[in-house]
Amino acid sequence: MFKVCDTFVKSPTLMRDTYCKALMDLAAENDDIVALDADLVSSSGMKPFFSAYPDRAINVGIAEANMIGIAAGLSVVGKIPFAHSFGCFATRKTCDQVMISAAYAKLNVKILGSDPGVTAAYNGGTHMPFEDMGVMRSIPEITLIELTDPVMVQDIVRQVADIYGVHYLRMARKNATAVYEAGSSFEIGKGNVLLEGKDVTIIASGIMVSEALKAAQSLKNDRISARVVDMFTWKPIDQELVEKCARETRAIVTAENHNVVGGLGSAVSEAVVRTSPVPVEMVGVKDRFGQVGTEEYLKNEYGLTAAEIVDAVKRVLPRKKRGLFSF
């Protein structure tokens, strides 16, 4: 069960610090937890883990493909490896290894891709993954999760360690807007309805969750009642919830810090068209490359804002079907 914060303040702790702490807690209980990194320990905030558990922490150097293969091998002998790189490299450089050595081989590998989308900021286009989830999404049986805030990091990392299989986690490294109250817990594969509403559902993820909540607030002024869902599991998508929202609100807006081609908007569309086709508007990156800039600059540049969500809602509402609805 989770509780939503009603303020939009930055979490006091950095995402990465919570991640490191969560893994250290796990490592204290379970000898099989192993951390891997590809020369980005300074970025991932995993230094405390590396200091505390030098025998279970492996910096493979700048060799992401090797890292995933090693992680797969470790899991062959019962280890539970958590491997990190920036989201761009954790996916694009390892796609074949994740597919064959990890997923197809049915091993137990956890991957963290940090700096999703615009949160890569000054690292620019080469380092700004708007495609990481898309690259991974067609790999069978993999679980794809975007972590919303430190409270979720804390809870999900623990779950993921317990569930056998390949998990890819996408997460901003630094501070995120707090969405959940401390102690909240989450169910992988189930979206979180953060706000009830009846005119439209905003299905958001990552940094766009708080933007969606802001958008919903501002829509109230226009007497539009927006439901807000944090769809932190992109795969498997919560088919049931998507259908329910489609049926009940008859219009959907998706919001993601990712390319709308192949991303969350895509996953939601796949779910919508099965039994409950309703109009969907997508807020996200429109098939463009990344670039350098502050996160704020980039959010504006790519339209990843509450204002953009409000616009999308206003575009989608007139397209709602008014007549007989047969599903």
Binding site: A72, G73, D96
Partner: protein, 335 residues
């Protein structure tokens, strides 16, 4: 060392593996004959005794592991595993059959005794490293074996792994590169010249040995030396011929081949003959060894008073004899 099979005994095992692999491929009518034939002797040495395993318990935690990174050589490994008793010989007919247990490339989830899923070249080394590293963390003395192709060494992941394994002094990793001088499209020197692989792995910090990859004795010695060596991973460069022992040997286009019935009959016949020769040689050796041992025993008994150690020592040869017989029997079953 005393537990080790003799070269002559391993020769029997090798010819048995070659024969059964050919029969397996014959059943399907085509396949990766080139890369299967070139690793037969290495598999004979490993599954002839060097690689610790238990056919009755393929998932035994204490076992050594083999990552056959050149996963397309699966047919040779399948033949070996069935000869060693991991699964019944009949299963070999499932090669490449939809829904069967023996896919064209090795799959740890499908075949008893296959330790890692491979087929995308370059990936095996990393998996083997992970296994070796995990075993080191687990304080297990298990050894991880790895077989890669020479063409496979084109893949950068091989060198990522090479650099890592050396930096981490993974001496529980013993790798072989099947230097058969051919890749899929032709001779490596024409496609992408890999140059001197021994030199390269040495420059990457490995303990490197180069041996005749069809000489079971040489391979056995190299594995023994590799096991002794501390502080670095081992690379045994196998000087081999792709398709060795068959019509495919060293010819162009021998990577994946269809063959005529005549070609295959001839190869099977030749290999069966070699197996018989090998058996005769091994039997002669064994007879000589027993005679010598009996003589020695007699001399000892006459000369020495009873000690505490002998009973145990005596058990060893007995065990060995048992082990020796097993593969021969299996070989017979399968000829």
């Amino acid at each position: 060392m005393e537990n080790r099979k003799s070269a002559k005994e391993l020769r029997v095992i090798a010819e048995g593996i070659r024969l059964v692999t050919l029969q397996e491929l014959e059943g399907f009518g085509s396949g990766h004959i080139g890369g299967s034939m070139s690793i037969v002797e290495t598999l004979a040495v490993l599954y002839g005794g060097e690689l610790r395993c238990d056919p009755g318990n393929p998932k035994w935690e204490e076992r050594d592991r083999l990552v056959l990174s050149k996963g397309h050589a699966g047919p040779a490994l399948y033949a070996t595993l069935s000869l060693r008793g991991f699964f019944p010989k009949e299963m070999l007919s499932e090669l490449n059959q939809g829904g069967g247990h023996l896919p064209s490339h090795c799959d740890r989830n499908k075949t008893p005794g296959v330790d890692m899923t491979t087929g995308s070249l370059g990936q095996g080394i990393s998996a083997a490293i992970g296994i070796a590293l995990g075993n080191r963390m687990n304080k297990s003395d298990s050894i991880t074996y790895l077989i890669i192709g020479d063409g496979e060494c084109n893949e950068g992941q091989v060198w990522e792994g090479a650099m890592f394994a050396a930096a981490h002094k993974l001496s529980n990793l013993i790798a072989f590169v099947d230097w058969n001088k051919q890749q899929l499209d032709g001779f490596t020197k024409d496609i992408l010249d890999v140059g001197d692989l021994a030199d390269k792995f040495r420059a990457f910090g490995w303990f490197v040995q180069k041996v005749d990859g069809h000489d079971v004795g040489a391979i056995l010695d190299a594995v023994a030396a590799a096991k002794e060596h501390e502080g670095a991973p081992s690379m045994i460069v196998l000087d081999t011929i792709k398709g060795y022992g068959t019509f495919a040997a060293g010819v162009e286009g021998n990577h994946h081949m269809s063959f005529t019935k005549d070609q295959m009959d001839e190869a099977v016949k030749k290999t069966a003959e070699k197996l018989e020769e090998a058996r005769a040689a091994a039997a002669a050796e064994e007879a000589a060894r027993r005679a010598a041992a009996a003589a020695e025993e007699a001399v000892k008994k006459a000369a020495e008073p009873p000690e505490e150690q002998p009973p145990e020592k005596q058990e060893e040869p007995a065990e060995k004899a048992e082990e020796d017989e097993a593969p021969a029997e299996e070989g017979e079953d399968n000829v």
